[in-house]
């Protein structure tokens, strides 16, 4: 395994940037997840690492080598395809052996390593089957074994779980993560499933429109989103548009003044983002909360353990709150007047008051 570096990697199709100045540094043994909406360039980036898309500019380094100019077959990356791409005319064992054969490994070593790789994914007994005689989950594991058997420098996974049903996905998720940790594999995985990304990654990369928006741990992304896009994409946020009056006070378009933690955002048009679970909702006013408002419940959705509320604070300010559903708890109904509050530390402020995609993720 080795370190992987992407340096200002770009891919342009005509005037359109599928990836733009992607710079990443994946440490030896690190599990990095590329996360982003559909079409943001995740697959393109992964394929540039594997050597199937030629970058317009920039460089890819694996270990100590610049592999930008190398063809795919000389890169020593193990790629697991979304569709698995198992060779239909070869048995499971032959599929797994393929990479070793290409490296001209001696017969005895191939047999041994294929056995080990299949054991690793707990398919040792199915070596003689053809891929079409396997279930989806088993095929997925064969694809993984095939990508690992020849000991690649980096493991690349393109939405490896998207073809599995929800339950299996959770199991395989844990399995891949454990395997990755025990073998100390440098891994880059692509997904647009947030939960998957959050549970598996050491570090996450949020991409949008071909560019990297933020790199960081789960906590970094959730609690200190770098921009409005990340705040809306990772987890949920309600957005209030308005402007920053002083470094510590935000005033919404609807006239609400919100105290917030001092930020580096310039005074002027700004957007405030608020996590739903940081918002408290009570029937009576609470005294010790820093930001307290009165609003009208506009929408209630009952999620079992949790209740989602849309509370209107002013004609142009809507806040989403997520409150626990307790036996003794209070259960607001549409039209109720409620008291809403949050702490100073709960809100993030971003420059610009664009109200374009404000309610996209409500």
């Amino acid at each position: 395994m080795a370190r992987l570096e992407l340096n200002q990697l770009s891919k342009r199709y005509g005037d359109f940037f599928a990836a733009r100045d992607v710079t990443l540094d994946v440490a030896d043994g690190e599990f990095l997840v590329l996360l982003g909406p559909s079409g943001c360039g995740k697959t393109t980036t992964l394929r540039m690492i594997a050597g199937f898309v030629e970058p317009t500019s920039g460089a890819v380094r694996i270990g100590d080598n610049d592999v930008t100019q190398l063809p795919a077959w000389k890169r020593n990356t193990g790629l697991v395809f979304q569709s698995y791409a198992l060779f239909p005319h070869l048995t499971v064992a032959q599929n797994v052996a393929f990479g070793l054969e290409m490296r001209k490994a001696p017969r005895s070593e191939i047999t041994q390593r294929v056995g080990e790789a299949l054991e690793l994914v707990r398919l040792g007994h199915l070596g003689d089957r053809l891929p079409r005689q396997l279930s989806g989950g088993q095929q997925q594991r064969v694809a993984l074994a095939r990508a690992l058997a020849f000991q690649p420098d980096v493991l690349l996974l393109d939405e490896p779980l998207s073809n599995l049903d929800a339950k299996l996905r959770q199991e395989v998720r844990v399995e891949i993560r454990k395997l990755q940790q025990s073998l100390n594999l440098t891994t880059v995985m692509v997904t647009h499933d947030q939960e998957e990304a959050l549970t598996m990654a050491d570090r996450l990369v949020v991409m949008s429109e071909g560019a990297v928006r933020q790199v960081g741990s789960q906590r970094d992304l959730y609690e200190r989103p770098a921009d409005r896009f990340v705040a809306g994409f990772v987890g949920r946020s309600s957005f209030l548009s308005g402007s920053l009056e002083t470094p510590e006070r935000f005033r919404s378009a609807g006239g609400i003044a919100v105290a917030c933690r001092p930020s580096t955002v310039a005074i002027g048009p700004a957007t405030l983002a608020l996590r739903p679970e940081r918002v408290t909702v009570t029937p009576e006013a609470i005294s010790d909360v820093e930001n307290g408002f009165v609003g009208e419940v506009e929408f209630v959705s009952y999620l079992g353990g949790l209740i989602d509320l849309h509370v209107r604070l002013s004609p142009s300010d809507l806040v989403i709150a997520q409150i626990p559903n307790r036996e003794d708890g209070f259960m607001p109904r549409t039209g109720d007047k409620v008291h809403v509050g949050w702490t100073v530390a709960s809100a993030s402020v971003f420059p610009g008051s664009g109200d374009d995609a404000d309610s996209a993720d409500l």
Binding site: A50, G51, F52, P71, A72, W73, K74, R75, N76, T77, G78, L79, F81, S83, A85, L86, F87, P88, H89, F98, G99, M102, R103, R146, A147, F150
Partner: protein
């Protein structure tokens, strides 16, 4: 009551289907059966009912040098033309399906053209071309009537079949398999040999098979291209028919049918051609 009726109508449907299928089969097989039957007739004039049965016509054709030589030439031609056709047609199909380049559509149509053009027209065109070429080169390019000239014509007949059928199987071939192979360390050629070729093999074999049959049975074009004293089997049959009609023609036909039928059955055991065509 209603249940019985439903069963009845379903039975009826099944019977209708069976009858239609049998009729269609008969329509296809009747000529084959009657020609086979005829080939075992005792008497010379094909009349009904036969006076008796014998193998004399088979003996006669094996003693007939024109038939034997014709068969040999046709097989040689068919095999060589198929080999060359594969050599040209498979890469052509690969390029046509993989790359977008100017003139691609034109090339595609051009490669399929010999399938559309009537054999007589193709034969005339080649004949004229051979003559003109010979005149233009002052006799140095004397291909008219040579085996090479004949072979080049047959290659033209084979290519469209190979291209068509390989293109068809390439359309169903998953290209991520090739990427998977390259990711595992296979260069382009190894990828083709180990992954692509096995994937499109049914199309390649079917193309070879149909190309061979088209070449083997080709009469019209070959008529223009054979040299004196050298005839393919279809031409030998035609020439024989000009003089007399007797069951030996039937015997020759049966030999052809058995040859091609066996080849089809044997290849189908290894490669499921029926999946492509």
């Amino acid at each position: 009551m209603r249940g019985a009726l439903a069963i009845d109508s379903r039975k009826l449907g099944r019977w209708a289907l069976l009858t239609a299928a049998t009729l269609a089969m008969l329509y296809i097989l009747a000529p084959l059966i009657s020609v086979t039957w005829l080939s075992f007739y005792e008497q010379e004039i094909p009349s009904f009912p036969p006076e008796g049965y014998s193998l004399r016509w088979y003996k006669l054709i094996t003693g007939n040098a024109r038939f034997v030589d014709g068969l040999l030439l046709s097989v040689q031609l068919g095999v060589s033309a198929t080999a060359i056709g594969l050599f040209v047609g498979v890469p052509a199909a690969l390029c046509l399906s993989r790359f977008r380049f100017p003139g691609r559509e034109t090339l595609n149509n051009l490669l399929l053209l010999p399938l559309m053009v009537p054999g007589v027209v193709l034969g005339t065109a080649l004949y004229v071309f051979h003559v003109e070429a010979e005149i233009a080169t002052g006799g140095r390019f004397a291909i008219l009537g040579s085996t090479l000239g004949l072979l080049s014509g047959h290659v033209l007949v084979v290519i469209p079949w190979v291209v068509r059928l390989v293109l068809a199987s390439l359309a169903g071939f998953d290209r991520t398999l090739e990427e998977a192979a390259q990711n595992l360390g296979a260069d382009r050629w190894t990828t083709f040999r180990r992954i692509t070729l096995p994937g499109i093999l049914p199309g390649v074999v079917a193309g070879a098979m149909f190309g061979f049959v088209a070449s083997f049975g080709n009469l019209e074009m070959s008529l223009f291209l054979v040299g004196p004293g050298r005839t393919t089997l279809p031409i030998a049959i035609l020439q024989y028919l000009e003089w007399k009609i007797d069951p030996s023609i039937a015997a020759v036909s049966v030999v052809q049918i058995v040859l091609i039928g066996t080849a089809m059955l044997v290849t189908d055991r290894f490669v499921k051609i029926s999946r492509v065509v």
